[in-house]
């Protein structure tokens, strides 16, 4: 048993490093863990007596995270009343200060996670109630604020390996939820009443056949009328409303003939009920409404689900910062309270809350999401910093110069808003077709009615109803939504989330694909690319030394070095960090330096071989060196590596005849290297957000359908302006919010899959529409000639719709 457990972490299923360092005793067995994070999480689960989680779970958990001080600091911000305003509901009572909030739980993999979370949170002192929704991964927690703080709850959740953050259901989400409930009520009412009407209809049909007493027939008619009335007034309301809206805008949507068919059938039946002559079609009315509502309900649920998924990705860090007051105390305040002239302390890992100037400290900052620049920029006293950039190395004190509307970030936001309003629309295939079709049907029904008018109402009414029902663009109206829903759910499995309806259709038609570089085509973080040895030391020895020196630094270069070697290395002693330059420290009894060539020259007194250096730099890499006071050991070249599948995606798109453009804000050299690696010939570097936008507008003016793929704040306006856009899930909130699709997986292949699926979807939509129209064209003459009874028309219509749905479901199957 222990043999098999050695290979994979018992908690998360990842491989266990050699030496079996981390383990936890669970249910009497010693289980190996892959990392201290998993170990801590498993310990916490066992300690709280919830080992059963491991018995019941069906999927391994996500890898445990070690709790970092910054994370805890962030959650503290959620305790501020000003921050809580947006998402906490107060229930004041004699039991104290009761509060309730919705949390999004990340890391839920199976039902046992729900159980674990509910038990764990409920066991906390001060928590009054907790309920986790398995479908949406939302938890509703009620707590007594005098006994426990929200940050304690969030921290407790992260101890067992999940990540929770408050979530503001927002007006839109709430509206969607109310809408869903209303739709469900409409659907249920139509279903229940429809069944009663059907039952009575069967009695009437049989009565036609075997004879029925007249007073019973009248009675049944009246009962059917009574049952259908609520369906018409309550359930069918959305059709009437949207038909009226369409007519007001002088458009002919699907709902016009639907409403007309329902009204004509209903009024005709009412007339029959009152006069006692003719047939009633109450059953057709109810069933028709029920089926249409069913389709729309599922469409709406799918839309809601994708909105929720998107919501999960774009959660913001609480907007708070540490302000240094006039008495030198620090206070946690919200960004809104920040004023020009305030001094704020920004710790490593924190985001600058506003534009400002450094007044104390040296560090380097990451502006990649704002500018596309892949390497951190060193900053010193008097350096300007942009709100939204991230401080990397050491604490800085910044004097705020611009807040709110005046910041660079707000400027980009305004650009984004303008781009959104100017976005060119692609008219949707199905809508256009359907509008003409609907108009034709209405004219036809009118002429059929006129033709049979002389024969009396008992003839023209059923014929006209049959024409309206048989030509009901039901199949036509299902043709697009079913295919889109199937394609969307297929792509969600591949990690490509569609958040706007038109995205897939437009993606299939895109002629130009525009990519951003940093964080999109590349991973957006440095990795060790090459090690040049200049002494007798081997590569692992050099890396071990480098890792020991870089142990404490958050700089991307240090992270790249640490990631390059798996072994655990004891940190060097008396480490001294020169931000933006390098690090020195005592390893064993030797003082060693690691840093930029300039740093090594100045501090270690070593000159580096220039030819090697230039060769390594020629590729656009960042080069650092490792040396002691006597000799240089190694040179490391770091670069922002391509994302998995980037090059393949580009070549697939090129093979499919699409134009590829690379637009980046980064330096020419770095962009050129990536362009060369991926085979992109058309690229531009050092672009500002406006430049990118202008480039896209220029393409669009030439008639291009532009698909944009990006991740940064500087990409957001372009994402909004492009006809269809894909944002990286790991990128900025702003980019994700302005894009039509989100790439959740780290593999770019999903985009290529997305384009292919979108094209197959278009084919299937065309097939469906052709089928729906040709069926109607065939059935119409028969209906107009009076050969089709309304019930036959209803069966034909349903069969046609089923065929269309079946065809759309083919999208879910794997290719060919």
């Amino acid at each position: 048993m222990t043999d098999t457990n050695k290979t994979a972490c018992f908690h998360c299923g990842l491989p266990v490093p050699e030496g079996d360092i981390y383990s936890v005793t669970i249910q009497g067995h010693k289980r190996s863990m892959c990392c201290p994070g998993c170990q801590a999480v498993a310990d916490a689960i066992v300690d709280s007596g919830m080992e059963d989680y491991y018995t019941y779970r069906t999927e391994p958990a996500e890898q445990g995270r070690e709790l970092v001080p910054e994370f805890l600091q962030q959650t503290l911000a959620y305790d501020l009343d000003t921050v809580q305003q947006s998402f906490v509901r107060h229930h004041d009572s004699e039991h104290g200060d009761l509060r309730e909030a919705d949390l999004i739980l990340e890391g839920i993999t199976c039902a046992a996670c729900i159980w674990l979370n509910e038990r764990h949170i409920a066991a906390l002192k001060g928590v009054k109630s907790v309920a986790v929704n398995y479908s949406t991964h939302r938890a509703r927690v009620e707590w007594d604020n005098d006994a426990i703080k929200l940050s304690d709850i969030l921290e407790a959740i992260s101890r067992i390996g999940y990540l929770a953050h408050p979530y503001d259901p927002g007006r839109q989400q709430q509206l969607l939820e109310d809408e869903r409930k209303l739709q469900l009520r409409r659907l249920g009412l139509a279903g229940v009443l429809g069944m009663q009407v059907m039952m009575i209809a069967v009695a009437l049909y049989l009565g036609n056949h075997f004879g029925i007493e007249e007073h019973f027939r009248t009675f049944f008619h009246w009962v059917s009328l009574g049952l259908t009335l609520p369906v018409l007034l309550y359930s069918a309301q959305p059709f009437f409303k949207s038909a009226v809206r369409d007519l007001k805008h002088k458009q002919a949507g699907m709902d016009v003939p639907v409403s007309l068919g329902i009204s004509v059938a209903f009024i005709g039946s009412v007339w029959t009920t009152f006069t006692g002559h003719g047939e009633i079609y109450f059953d057709s009315v109810c069933m028709f409404v029920f089926f249409l509502l069913t389709g729309r309900y599922f469409e709406m649920v799918a839309r809601k689900r994708s909105a929720e998924n998107a919501d999960e990705l774009v959660h913001g860090v609480p907007a708070v910062t540490n302000r240094i007051e006039s008495n030198e105390d620090e206070a946690l305040i919200t960004i809104a309270e920040l004023r020009v002239g305030d001094r704020v302390r920004i710790k490593p890992g924190e985001t600058f809350p506003a534009d400002g100037v450094v007044i104390d400290g040296r560090s380097s900052i990451d502006e990649s999401l704002l500018t596309g620049e892949s390497l951190p920029v060193p900053v010193d006293v008097d350096s300007k910093v942009i709100g939204g950039a991230i401080n990397i190395e050491s604490p800085l004190i910044v004097k705020v110069e611009k807040t709110g509307q005046d910041t660079v970030l707000s400027g980009i936001m305004r650009l984004l808003e303008r781009a959104q309003t100017e976005k060119p629309r692609i008219t949707q295939l199905a809508d256009k077709t359907a509008a003409w079709f609907v108009l034709g049907v209405l004219l036809l029904a009118a002429s059929v009615m006129a033709y049979w008018w002389q024969a009396g109402v008992s003839v023209w009414l059923p014929v006209t109803v049959a024409v309206l029902v048989v030509t009901c663009p039901c199949a036509l109206s299902l043709a697009t939504p079913t295919a889109v829903t199937a394609a969307t759910s297929r792509l969600t499995r591949y990690g490509l989330l569609t958040t706007r309806g038109h995205a897939l259709e437009t993606l299939a038609k895109a002629t130009h694909f525009i990519f951003d570089k940093t964080g999109t085509l590349t991973k957006g973080k440095l990795e060790l690319h090459e090690t040049r040895l200049v002494s007798s030391l081997t590569e692992p020895e050099c890396l071990r030394l480098a890792k020991a020196l870089e142990a404490g630094s958050e700089h991307p270069v240090a992270q790249a070095i640490r990631n390059a070697i798996d072994e655990k290395v004891d940190p060097a002693n008396s480490i001294h960090n020169t931000p933006g330059m390098g690090v020195t420290g005592q390893v064993g009894n030797r003082r060693m330096w690691i840093g930029t060539p300039l740093y090594i020259e100045q501090h270690a007194g070593q000159t580096l071989p220039n030819d090697v250096l230039n060769k390594m730099r020629a590729d656009g890499h960042t080069v650092i060196a490792l040396a002691d006071s006597k000799t240089v050991f190694a040179l490391f070249a770091m670069g922002d590596q391509l994302r998995d599948g980037s090059a393949e995606l580009i070549s697939q798109l090129q093979a499919a005849g699409r134009k590829i453009v690379l637009l980046s804000g980064d330096h020419t050299q770095a962009v050129a290297r990536v362009a060369e690696q991926t085979g992109i010939s058309d690229w531009q570097a050092e672009l500002l957000p406006d430049d990118k936008l202008a480039a896209v507008h220029a393409l669009q003016q030439q008639g291009a359908v532009v698909a944009m793929v990006g991740d940064g704040v500087n990409d957001a306006p372009v994402l909004a302006a492009a006809q269809v856009s894909i944002a990286m899930a790991g990128g900025t909130q702003l980019a994700a919010a302005s894009a039509d699709m989100l790439l959740l997986s780290s593999d770019m292949h999903a985009i290529s899959e997305g384009r292919e699926t979108a094209q197959r979807m278009l084919t299937i939509i065309r097939q469906n529409i052709s089928w729906a129209i040709s069926y109607n064209v065939l059935a119409l003459p028969a209906a107009a000639a009076g050969l089709v009874a309304p019930w036959m028309a209803a069966i034909g219509m349903s069969a046609s719709s089923l065929l269309v749905v079946g065809n759309a479901l083919r999208l879910l199957r794997n290719k060919r």
């Binding site: 007596g49 019941y56 039902a111 398995y134 479908s135 249920g188 229940v192």
Partner: protein, 59 residues
């Protein structure tokens, strides 16, 4: 067959009741999570109770 004049209105009453119950169920969130409860009922709480008792004993 005159009994139909009694039975049909009775059926209508029943339908009205069903609809009232359905509306109540929708409003009270019975349809919000269709997957969770199915799993939740299988999970035993034995272990929790044991550890709770232990805590009480220690106190």
């Amino acid at each position: 067959m005159e009994i139909l004049y009694l039975l049909v209105p009775l059926a209508l009453l029943l339908v009205a009741l069903i609809i009232v119950i359905f509306f109540w169920a929708v409003r009270s969130g019975q349809f919000d999570d269709l997957e969770g409860p199915a799993h939740r009922i299988i999970m035993d709480d034995d272990d929790i109770r044991k550890s709770d008792e232990n805590k009480v004993d220690k106190d």
